[in-house]
Amino acid sequence: MTRIDPLARPIGWSFDFEMVFLFEIAVDEARRHLPAPLMPIELRPGVGVLGIGVQSLCAGNLGELPEVREIYCTIAVQPQLSVPMPTPRFAVVPVIIAATAPSFLARARELDRLNAMPWTPTLDIELDRAGLRARAADDRGPIFELWNVHEQPSFVDAEMWGQEFVGVDDDPLYFQAWHWRARKAEYQRRGGGRLHPHPFFAGIDLDAVSPDPYMQFITPPQTDGTLTLFAPIPLANIQPRRRVQR
């Protein structure tokens, strides 16, 4: 089998703010939204991880995109450690994304194979950077609110490797590596988020999700961040059956 390089064809994105909050989700509900063979991470028996995030992408990405605000919903899954890349901090399935620029969404779907909520001009992603708060809504109603609950978040330089498993429509499953670098504060506190029933959640039963998040991951109000996405590769191409000496 031809060796596939999962770190080929990187594309770098500049961003200046991001908030990702983790909620507990019943594992049975998480599994409903995961394609085989992916399995959810369990914090405790029966409890998986749902990530809700918002990112502010700088103007000028790819040379032509405007400033874009993106929201996303992910489920944490087991990583694929046979991939020749630095050990990932975590692996996710992006259940759905939404964004303020139609060109960004079209590209995300076509090239990154991400499920995207159809673009609507009514999508409003409001960022209160100084207050470390974010809110998303459209003409169908509120989607979510996220807000910092730590008295003194401490920001440090950080970089992480991660994995995503993606695919749209009848795609086979694709694997995508990413690398993230920015300043961030990460802490574990209950509170600081609210999710609302909305088509954005793509059929996720919010009754199976904890009412508030347990973990928060935020950048400072203004950061010089880079997210490098590597070209998606069919997962089947990077799952070699190797002979191992036991």
């Binding site: 063979p37 992916l38 399995m39 991470i41 914090l43 405790r44 028996p45 029966g46 409890v47 899954v77 087991q78 990583p79 694929q80 450690l81 046979s82 020749p84 890349m85 630095p86 050990t87 990932p88 901090r89 401490s154 440090v156 490797w161 504060a185 990460e186 802490y187 574990q188 506190r189 209950r190 973990m215 799952q239 059956r241 190797r242 191992v244 000496q245 036991r246």
Partner: protein, 435 residues
């Protein structure tokens, strides 16, 4: 085993401090690459003389030890990392009793307790425990490990269709027991009685067997559980209660009968779980419950029925521990322990964030997980052995050192420990003052 990819190995070397224990826990690949990654991480730590975890104890005394690190260095350390809270692990009378049982019964039970592994030492230990707790309607089920008590009890009692409600910070043994039982599982926020009541209200329908599982003393934070309130709520909803007193039996309460005694609910808890590897100074564990329940658990807890019985020599030693703990000797040791804890807490509280601890498990928060490896290594080099705890065992950003204080630590040793911690606190930036 397939060799680690060069880039993956180099990344571990270059970013050693960024790696944490949880990053090796999962892998969807058919090949166990996580094993090689973890091995590489340990190897890098050893090469850099930072692998200070699970050192070999060449010589162990009550409060100090000679340890052999993975890098070959032998260090003399003050020990605050063991659970020998009352010093019974090396008590001469306990050793003598264990030796006598060893001579009488041999090295091991060599059989399951439901076949031929049950011996006189077990019966004597069980009687001693019933006498100690002064609950004549109760019996004792002995297990060869404390972990197994929770696994086996929950698996035997909670049938398919039952409902378990657990404090969301309970020990892994309770989580594994819940998983093994193949029942419905719900969690309530740690120590939050409104959260518990919401779960009870949701799941207690009069037709479902409901078991609430909590600990009396949580070893991550060193805080006590609100047992009186838990038991009262559970009774109101006709739910059963299991209290894991692993870190509190023989230590808490006026007579050492645990936090259940301290909070006045000793006879009201349905399942009282104790382990013998802490204040008892041995190994194994036991369930204290109504006699008929223990009889049932004896036969239906699979990890008991299908495993070897508790070692008879250990049982012989434990019997003597129970006798001592229930006497003036136990009262004196408990008093010394509580005095030592108060002394060390006072010595540390102005310099450090001691978190939620109100017990003999003192926690000193240092926050950043990335400091763990260097910090623990440094502390050992300075002569102090403690127990660090970080994500995912505790909340992210709240990594801590745990000091298990015992009755046998001297004032001099407590002062030395405090001085070493202050030095480390200045070096690693987690000390509050300029001292």
């Amino acid at each position: 085993m397939s060799a680690l990819q060069p880039d993956m190995a180099r990344h571990i070397e270059d970013n050693f401090d960024e790696y944490t224990y949880d990053m090796f826990m999962y892998n969807m690949s058919p090949d166990p690459e996580e094993v090689e990654l973890f091995s590489k991480w340990l190897e890098v730590g050893t090469t850099r003389r930072l692998n200070s975890f699970a050192p070999v104890r060449l010589c162990s005394r009550d409060t100090s030890a000679t340890i052999l690190r993975a890098d070959g260095r032998e260090l003399e350390v003050l020990s605050f990392s063991g659970y020998n809270y009352l010093g019974y692990a090396r008590h001469p009378a306990v050793i003598a009793s264990a030796r006598a049982a060893l001579e009488r019964y041999g090295l091991g039970a060599a059989s399951s307790p439901i076949i031929s592994g049950n011996c006189g030492a077990h019966a004597e230990l069980a009687r001693a425990l019933v006498d100690f707790f002064k609950l004549p309607s109760h019996g004792v089920s002995l297990f060869s490990s404390g972990y197994a008590v929770n696994l086996g009890t929950i698996q035997a009692f909670a049938k398919p269709g039952s409902q378990l409600i657990l404090d969301d910070r309970v020990h892994m043994s309770l989580l594994d027991g819940a998983r093994l039982a193949n029942t419905k599982i719900a969690y309530f926020e740690h120590g939050n009685m409104r959260s518990l009541e919401r779960q009870l209200d949701k799941h207690c329908d009069g037709h479902t067997r409901v078991l609430v599982c909590v600990e009396s003393l949580y070893s991550g934070d060193g805080d006590f559980g609100p047992l009186a309130e838990v038991v009262a709520l559970a009774k109101r909803y006709d739910a059963y209660t299991l209290v894991d007193e692993a870190h509190a039996t023989l230590v808490a309460g006026a007579s050492g009968r645990g936090v259940c005694e301290q909070q006045g609910v000793l006879g009201e808890v349905d399942f009282y779980v104790m382990t013998f590897s802490k204040a008892f100074g041995g190994v194994g564990g036991a369930l204290l419950a109504k006699r008929s329940m223990c009889q049932y658990i004896d036969w239906y807890a699979k990890c008991r029925a299908f495993s070897c019985a508790l070692d008879p020599a250990v049982a012989g030693g434990l019997r003597r521990v129970v006798e001592l703990a229930g006497s003036d000797d136990g009262d004196r040791r408990r008093a010394r322990l509580h005095a030592n804890v108060a002394y060390l807490r006072e010595a540390l509280r102005e310099d450090f964030d001691l978190g939620l601890s109100t017990s003999w498990i003192l926690t000193v928060l240092y926050g950043e997980e990335r400091n763990t490896v260097q910090l623990n290594s440094y502390l050992q080099e300075q002569g102090l052995d403690v127990s660090p705890l970080q994500f995912p065992a505790v909340a992210k950003g709240e990594a801590r050192l745990r000091l298990f204080v015992t009755s046998e630590h001297t004032r001099e040793q407590l002062d030395t420990a405090a001085a070493i911690l202050r030095d480390a606190g200045r070096r690693f930036g987690f000390i509050s003052t300029g001292r």
